[in-house]
């Protein structure tokens, strides 16, 4: 087993990840290294699957996109979480990089070219010691914020 996969498996045995599972904030759905599929529960009870690409975890930042497990494809735009115009829309933006990543400072793809983020958004910068639970906490908070509104079509 590769070192990055072993590090990931160690992290999901830690208290922060296991507590999130126990509280039904997120659930591990599948692993096909370097991809990991984790569902995150939204305020209305819907589960959104994120497909993480975790090469070089946890030193390397992961990158994640919304995923449809049944179709084995990125989640169709009509199923994406919607926003009242606040923080959710900025992160779940299907027109940014064609929906291949979330627009978050803890995401590898989003971090590219944003040298100011460690100064302007330090709380959202990837922390290898916290690992995947940090990314999930950020997404869970957004999907449970007042700005989140259900997708036009229910998530599959």
């Amino acid at each position: 087993m590769a070192q990055d996969e072993r590090a990931f498996l160690d992290h999901i045995e830690k208290g922060a990840f296991r507590l999130g599972v126990a509280e039904q904030k997120w659930r591990l759905e599948a692993i096909g290294w370097p991809h990991v599929y984790i569902g995150v529960r939204a305020r209305d009870g819907r589960w959104f699957t994120l497909r993480f690409e975790c090469t070089n975890y946890p030193i390397g930042l992961p990158t994640a996109c919304l995923w449809d497990l049944e179709r084995s494809a990125r989640l169709a735009v009509e199923h994406w979480p919607k926003s009242r115009g606040g923080r959710v829309a900025a992160v779940f933006n299907p027109s940014w990089k064609e929906g291949t990543a979330l627009y978050l400072p803890c995401d590898r793809e989003a971090m590219l070219g944003h040298d100011a983020w460690p100064t302007t958004l330090p709380e959202l910068i990837w922390r290898p010691i916290d690992g995947i639970a940090q990314y999930l906490e950020i997404v869970y908070e957004l999907l449970n914020s007042y700005d989140y509104t259900p997708a036009a079509v229910s998530a599959p």
């Binding site: 999901i12 045995e13 830690k14 208290g15 922060a16 990840f17 296991r18 507590l19 599972v21 126990a22 509280e23 039904q24 659930r27 591990l28 759905e29 599948a30 692993i31 096909g32 991809h35 599929y37 569902g39 606040g86 923080r87 900025a90 992160v91 933006n93 940014w96 627009y103 978050l104 400072p105 989003a110 070219g113 944003h114 100011a116 983020w117 302007t120 958004l121 330090p122 709380e123 959202l124 010691i129 916290d130 906490e137 908070e141 914020s145 007042y146 700005d147």
Partner: protein, 184 residues
């Protein structure tokens, strides 16, 4: 090759003979987890944790968001905590908290197992009279730092003994924004 994961596989508390205890503590910056037999008393659990972390004897255990320390004769399985058993270990019985917003500072006193979510709710809604919606768009930040503890963080994990005090600012959550060219 993708392998399916049973979502319940990580919830070890389904094993009838054991109970999973999640805990935070003075000096720990992460959520820890331990499994104990259902008939374990709070006193025995405290001894187990003291040996594991080399803590002093005066450590007290608290249930999450309950300000009084736990009765050490109670069984862990009788704590009556629904989703997950979440405890806190600390030497401070009470912690002095101040929250500042728009130039006004309000004082509070909590047990060390108080969550950041509970403190923010008290300060933002009861103290500074923000609406539920407005409060949700604000966050507590440790005064003089950029540290914004997660809602589930226990107060005591941010505070040492014998100081037993901390100050927060209530500030708006940041919206993720970057260079305009990066948004295309």
């Amino acid at each position: 090759m993708t392998r399916e994961i049973n979502p319940l596989a990580l919830q070890r508390n389904l094993k009838l003979e054991n109970i999973t205890v999640f805990y935070q503590a003075e000096g720990l910056n992460s959520v820890e987890v331990v499994e104990v037999e259902r008939e374990t008393t709070v006193a025995t659990l405290r001894d187990v944790l003291c040996r594991k972390h080399d803590w002093p004897e005066e450590i007290l255990l608290f249930a999450e968001d309950v300000d009084d320390e736990l009765d050490t004769t109670v069984l862990v399985c009788e704590l009556g905590i629904s989703e997950a058993t979440k405890l806190h270990a600390h030497r401070c019985r009470k912690i002095d908290v101040s929250v500042s917003y728009n130039g006004v500072t309000l004082p509070y006193v909590y047990g060390p197992s108080a969550t950041i979510a509970r403190i923010k709710h008290h300060a933002a809604i009861d103290g500074f009279h923000l609406s539920e919606e407005a409060a949700a768009e604000h966050v507590l930040q440790i005064k003089g730092t950029t540290i914004q503890p997660q809602p589930g963080t226990h107060l005591g994990s941010l505070v040492g003994h014998p100081e037993c005090r901390i100050a927060f600012d209530l500030i708006p959550k940041h919206r993720v924004q970057g260079a305009s060219e990066s948004l295309t």
